[in-house]
Subunit: 185 residues, 2 copies
């Protein structure tokens, strides 16, 4: 997931780790916060795999101006392979795209995602959330009254959240369909 997000952000501009993390925060709105303990090793791995390369700025393009020498910053940029990889993930709508984390990140890049892939991700996510909702409904019904008060409260809250998310997804899907109809006119 982190790899995917990094790939997406580096499409905007070359960046170093610290900046990447801030943009990551903005993009994902703190609903998902990657730590440096993931970020830096991931950057390393991606470099090793040839998805990104370290930019060798002689010093003149350094955004912070006053760049004289003391620069411990590693600025990374995408390689062709990195771009391909990003496009490949964007085109994917498999089951892994509907779990909590992955879904949010995929959605953050929806404007660059093909319309029919967006649709399949949205629908897959809805199915996934509906399953969770049914599980919670069953648990609440099964346990009835004799269940622990706090556990029931927890399940009630979970059920409400899933119900809201399904409604939200329905609206998004409807919007997508409307757009599709417009396009085909």
């Amino acid at each position: 997931m982190l790899e995917f997000a990094i790939l997406g952000l580096l499409h905007e501009a070359p960046m170093h780790g610290y900046e990447l993390r801030k943009r990551l925060h903005e993009l994902l709105g703190a609903f998902r916060a990657f730590s440096y303990g993931s970020l830096y090793p991931t950057l390393r791995r991606m470099q090793r795999c040839g998805l990104i390369v370290e930019e060798e700025t002689g010093g003149e393009t350094d955004r912070t101006a006053r760049s004289w020498g003391r620069r411990a910053r590693r600025v990374y940029k995408l390689t062709g392979e990195g771009k391909e990889r990003f496009a490949a993930i964007l085109a994917d709508a498999g089951p892994q795209t509907w779990d909590d984390d992955a879904f949010g990140i995929h959605m953050a890049f929806f404007s660059r995602t093909p319309a029919e892939v967006r649709m399949r991700i949205l629908e897959g996510r809805r199915r996934r959330v509906e399953e969770r909702r049914e599980g919670l409904r069953a648990a609440l019904a099964r346990a009835g009254e004799q269940i622990d008060r706090y556990t029931r409260e927890l399940h009630r809250m979970g059920l409400e959240s899933t119900e809201r998310e399904v409604r939200w997804l329905n609206e998004l899907i409807a919007h997508e369909q409307a757009e599709q109809r417009e396009r085909s006119e």
Copy 2:
């Protein structure tokens, strides 16, 4: 976290891994699903640490009846140390207890948690969620109209969820306070 949950469940009765996982599902209502890839290694580790021991049933107490010999089941039960550990975690209300996963699991054991610890966990969680909420509000305000439609939709949904959770927590806290007042009368 898994360790905590296992400790809590084994207080009810000795159990083997598979059963433990089912009870885990019931308890957490699929808002959190631990995999076998976590469960079995954790069980091992806990045994190594002396928190649980493998029950050496000669065969007669095997719940499935018809137990003649072919039993590949490892039934675990708590040790004194295990019980102490559980009590220690129950009595804790530190920052780690307010992140998403931990909070839910702690709450699932609230009926065995001291009232003032419950209170501190609830309030800590509220503070945590409020922070997230403010982050999302800021992001939405900052970006205004020029932000990507999908990202905004994601943030909007996140904001709504955090607002609801804060309201929910307020109710729970009010309920706790009412109980506290009752008790002190």
